[in-house]
Symmetry: C2
Subunit: 197 residues, 2 copies
């Protein structure tokens, strides 16, 4: 398998984390997002959506969209529950992450860290919605170690992708004790070193 991605992207890291956790063999092909390489014609031939990550499977078939990729890689593994309803609860969080979390938590980080904007230049509605996303995560994690079931699933990996960098987007994780403990839990389960906040 070849993973096309950029290591600054939480969406791409989700795929790396999942493949590493499952011990899947892959080659990593860098695509520089800041330089716009995902929008260039040669990449659009691979993925017409013009986004990373994308993977080329061993049989040459292509798959895009981070959460579709990790769901495919994790099928029939311990990262995805076998029960249909629990799978649907994982899906619920994967869709929520892409609609109600990533567009605020990840986009504000991109604006601050990679486009060089100041905090004053962030749009307030994105700040508010990012904070609302974190507040909901904090609530959902109350009394739980993982988002779905009793072990780490791809729902955790998907949400961890950008939540681990929330501080870089101007969001403060420190009041969110459940999230902070869960971030450490994810880092340990994925065998990652803690990111300096």
């Amino acid at each position: 398998m070849i993973i096309y991605g950029d290591l600054i992207s939480g969406n791409c890291l989700k795929v790396k984390y999942t493949a590493d956790f499952l011990g899947l063999a892959y080659a990593w092909h860098d695509v520089d997002v800041v330089k716009g390489e995902a929008r260039k014609p040669e990449f659009l031939t691979l993925n017409p959506m013009g986004q990373v990550p994308a993977v080329v499977l061993d049989d040459g078939r292509v798959l895009a969209q981070s959460n579709a990729i990790i769901r495919y890689l994790a099928r029939d593994s311990k990262l995805l529950p076998a029960d249909a309803y629990l799978q649907a609860k994982v899906d619920e969080l994967l869709f929520w992450e892409q609609y109600s979390h990533e567009p605020y938590i990840a986009v504000n980080r991109f604006h601050l860290k990679y486009l060089g904007k100041s905090k004053d230049q962030l749009e307030q509605w994105r700040v508010d919605r990012g904070n609302a996303a974190l507040a909901l995560m904090e609530k959902l994690l109350s009394g739980r170690e993982w988002f779905v079931g009793q072990r780490m699933t791809i729902a955790d990996i998907a949400l961890f992708g950008y939540t681990q960098f929330a501080n870089e987007g101007g969001f403060d994780l420190s009041p969110h004790r459940n999230i902070s403990a869960w971030v450490k839990r994810c880092q340990a389960a994925l065998n990652l070193k803690a990111i300096a906040a």
Copy 2:
């Protein structure tokens, strides 16, 4: 099953279309989005994400997120291919729809039709990204009747949800011949009357 939803929402209609197509029994419970009923405490108890649609299954368990719901309802049916890779290609489009289509096609319709804005008040970046989404759909449908495989899947239903109303968001479908033909194909397959443009 009880479906909580608002018939003005393409996201909610996806669930209705899927349930109707599969002949699933359900009660429909109206939640008025424009009046903010999805954000009220009694609804948040049901779905802390504060969004419709949400369903209560016959065993009392709750599921939210339109695409997670239709994927669950369509499991083991002809609306979802049995092959794992084709399922992943369906998922790819479901995630793309929520990230790169709905926030522009649906949101601009909401602003024009339900918040009473004029076309001049729409944000140009949302217009541009909505047009980019339609252009990609047009390309992906080239030489194809359906988005994945040889028959209608939940990928078609998910994309049809708001694409059928694109004109109401200020988008012009008429130059997109593949989309226009596919919209009619979906209407026929779902046994819907054509919407007056």
